[in-house]
């Protein structure tokens, strides 16, 4: 049990639960905006997961400065790769969210409804 009581694991658990909550929102909320919120939460959860993965026990930020010397960098810093990935992921998430919201707006204009059940013209 103790192995799970670490900073990174708790963070990751938070991320996973956030993913699940987001997913639940995406598949149950009929309101389009709530659906997008669900996606946004999912995304945030995913980011938390990635960042907690980057964490190495008792490490510092991957920046070489007075606190961290070049020579000891490898033993002191957190993994920069996942952090770099998260940066990308956050920006992509913003793009997707914006796109989704634009869609929501447009759909609302078509039918004056935010209920996803109103948009089932195409089926079968």
């Amino acid at each position: 049990m103790a192995q799970y009581l670490t900073l990174e694991f708790i963070a990751m658990l938070t991320g996973f639960i956030l993913i699940i909550i987001g997913l639940w929102g995406m598949i149950t909320q009929k309101n389009l905006i709530k659906l997008v919120i669900g996606f946004s939460l999912f995304d945030t959860g995913l980011n938390i997961v990635i960042v907690s993965m980057a964490y190495v026990k008792n490490s510092t930020a991957p920046i070489i400065d007075k606190a961290v010397d070049v020579s000891q960098a490898a033993s002191k810093i957190a993994d920069p790769v996942p952090q770099a990935l998260v940066l990308t992921s956050i920006v992509i998430g913003l793009g997707v969210t914006a796109l989704m919201l634009a869609y929501v707006l447009r759909m609302y204009r078509e039918k004056k409804s935010l209920d996803i059940n109103s948009y089932t013209d195409l089926r079968w």
Binding site: E8, F16, V70
Partner: protein
Amino acid sequence: MIKKGLLLILLVGFVAVISGLLINFTGSNELNPLASYYAEKGPTEVGAANLVTAVVITYRGFDTLGEVTILFIAAAIVGFFLKTMNADTNRPLRLRKTSEILETASTLLVPTIFMLGAYIFVNGHLTPGGGFQGGAVIATGVMMIILARPASQFNHKLISVLESISGIGFVVMGVLGLVLASGFLNNAFLPLGKLGSLLSAGAIPIIYVFIGIKVGSELTSILDSLKENQNEI
């Protein structure tokens, strides 16, 4: 209700699937070889003190190019999307009055915010932050203007020229890396300089400036597209 139950079962199943990832996660006690390589060689190869920046701009610069592109097309799509929507409506534009305080505050704050944004992306290779964050900050400034002066019309042309220049700049930097240095997006065609100083890390500051402008203008254009809707009642 039955449907919800089914969805719940589905979700539980999904949790069971991804729990395989979680329970095998034990954290790390040391960097993996790849990360250690970055930690050890990054400062010398790339010359950036901020290793995240080194990875983002150089080692995985190609990802960043894609990322900028995503934001770019997202902006393009949102712009197109909402533009066609506006074309549909012929209702007169009525504007809401904003408070004077907001207007005055924005006049004072906006230059500062822009400065802050510029600072963040210029120092991206040294301190936390960079083009994205800086660009976002600039966009925030733009938002303030929108809030304060709903009637103000942005110079679309300017935004799109900025967007283009910075985008092409980024690509040109990449090609220069290919032509002058060891590969596309390599930053070493400019002197790497002294680690930790502002003018170091080769082309990274320049690239980050381009990214900053680009992200800023892209986010601005998204906000701008939304704004045009905002004011129309």
